[in-house]
Symmetry: C2
Subunit: 324 residues, 2 copies
DNA sequence: CTGAAAGCGCTTACAG
DNA sequence: CTGAAAGCGCTTACAG
């Protein structure tokens, strides 16, 4: 059988409750006793029993990570990356991670409810934002701690979330292109939904106006054309790849004829030439911050919702160039 | 407070032990009593407490999923896809999933050991195969149940694993190209390590020999050249993309000048034209089978190691064509 | 077919 | 600073 707290207690000549206190490094216990107990734990190879601890303390010390209810999450490196980061940060704080996936919101909600009601998790980190859905409503109503990665479009003041500054991201793309002398710039997107799009595009427009440049919004489809733009801002790496392909079809080369800047710095940005100039959104930091905020919020009943902004970084590669 | 087994017992007018038996649908309990107890559970909204169940039963009903100790796992859609499939299959069997990630084998092993020794998991599904490592050794030595996704290069007879038939996958690629009249075919790879490479390449060679065709192995680098091959087999979608790019540099078009077939059917196979003819390796099935085998093996002390072969499917797209 | 009791391995007031 | 005791919510021999 595995060694328990009692075995340790006996070996160290103390009571089990003392061992328990040593485990949580309680300040009540004298250093001398702590040392003695720790030695016994070492010698015996003691490992706590997670289930017993959870049952007795009522705290699971595990976070449920909720993936979006879509089937293409595998194609977005974002999710695996942030999961890794969340898991590793969590481990540093001695907490575990459970995951909730599903093809529909309904399925997903069932899993979320189950995890919480069976007391498997203390709360959740949700990996998608945008409009409210049943899950967020359920968590809010029941006062279940959670952190959102991204920016919710409703009740922002009641939800702790971590995100990049997408407005600024829109602006900075323009700044970079403007520095390269470009004056006619279009924003290319394949979606017109979601906070990410709205904010990046808003930032784009603001900065373009501020600089008095000529702007346009292009909704991507396979036969879109350019007017006289010399530079483009694309919503993400994958879209950018498709845009490069389309441009080449109509005889335009990136970056010689058209500069292009995009977002995410995923693998897609550097498989094919031209490697893309893109903003790295620091996914590891997003994940780490989400965990920390979750811990803050679940440990402090008086914690007030807040937004954490994670910095980004421009990765200069081959797709942007000074206007000829 | 949450409703417990006792509350249900009281409401149904039975003993707590009876409720427990009803939960596991024990055949010892009469249908009448079951109905009565179930009604009480319904009325009260009873949910089991996972920790209590684990502590009392000694079974965690959770599987640890071990990711490879590399940092680019996010770029391979495989991992997120199989994780989703594992999680969803597990849920159908009422088991949970924990994950272990790490940048080095050492870190990873620590996490694996911890999860097992703290009794958080009953065993593991390992998402990478190839050569043995400390983790596999540790599991084997300690008789900890696990299933491998992929084919181990050592002790195959002692390890339950699920995989595609990579040899056949090599052969079938040749068959498809041969049917299209190609006679000079090269196998392109950017790695010469691992079972996957070895088996696919072996299958390729065998079939080429059988058909008496002219074969070659090309190690991919950015300035590789073709001799007189008219068709290629590439190790995976991403590599294939790079090969297409290189071919276009030297004036060769896929599929007009060169046909190309590849593996995985990931997102990379259908972002840019030519969309790639590729083998879908049925990742969902790999994940589902891994879970089922794990359950078989962890529930039956006499279970003998076995290999499960998951079928694949040729996805015809734009990159292969009859030889002109 | 069902109940009473012990036990799983911890935590945490309470007392001193 | 430490101990003794009760309790967390289940499961599972044992008995009838």
């Amino acid at each position: 059988m595995a060694v328990t707290i009692k075995d340790v207690a006996k070996k160290a000549g103390v009571n089990a409750s003392t061992v328990s206190r040593v485990i949580k490094d309680s300040s009540e216990i004298s250093d001398k006793t702590k040392a003695k107990v720790r030695k016994a734990m070492q010698d015996l190879g003691y490992r706590r029993n997670a289930a017993a601890q959870i049952l007795a303390s009522g705290k699971t010390n595990t976070i449920g990570v909720v993936f979006p209810p879509v089937s293409d999450k595998a194609s977005q490196p974002f999710f695996m990356k942030i999961l890794t980061s969340i898991n590793e940060t969590a481990r540093d704080y001695n907490v575990s991670v459970a995951i909730a996936t599903g093809h529909s919101t309904k399925e997903l909600k069932k899993q979320v409810e189950l995890q919480y009601s069976e007391k498997r998790v203390d709360g959740f980190i949700i990996l998608y934002a945008g409009k409210r859905d049943e899950i967020r409503d359920y968590l809010l109503e029941n006062d279940i701690p959670f952190v959102l990665v991204g920016t919710p479009s409703e009740r922002q003041n009641e939800i702790t979330h971590v995100d990049n500054d997408n407005m600024l991201l829109g602006r900075e793309a323009v700044r970079h292109l403007a520095e390269l002398q470009h004056q006619k710039i279009a924003f290319v997107t394949d979606t017109t939904e979601g906070e990410v799009y709205e904010e990046r595009y808003q930032g784009f427009k603001d900065e373009m106006n501020r600089l008095g440049l000529t702007k346009r919004l292009i909704f991507f489809n396979k036969d879109f054309m350019l007017e006289d733009e010399t530079a483009l801002v694309a919503m993400d790496d994958v879209l950018a790849l498709k845009v490069v392909e389309r441009l080449s079809e109509i005889g335009l080369k990136v970056p010689d004829d058209v500069s292009m800047i995009t977002y995410n710095n995923s693998i897609f940005a550097s498989i094919l030439h031209p490697y893309l100039t893109t903003f790295d959104i620091h996914i590891e930091q997003l994940g780490a911050a989400a965990v920390k905020k979750f811990l803050d919020l679940s440990n402090d009943k008086n914690f007030l919702p807040e937004k954490t902004i994670i910095p980004f970084e421009l990765i200069l590669r081959e797709s942007t160039k000074i206007k000829k």
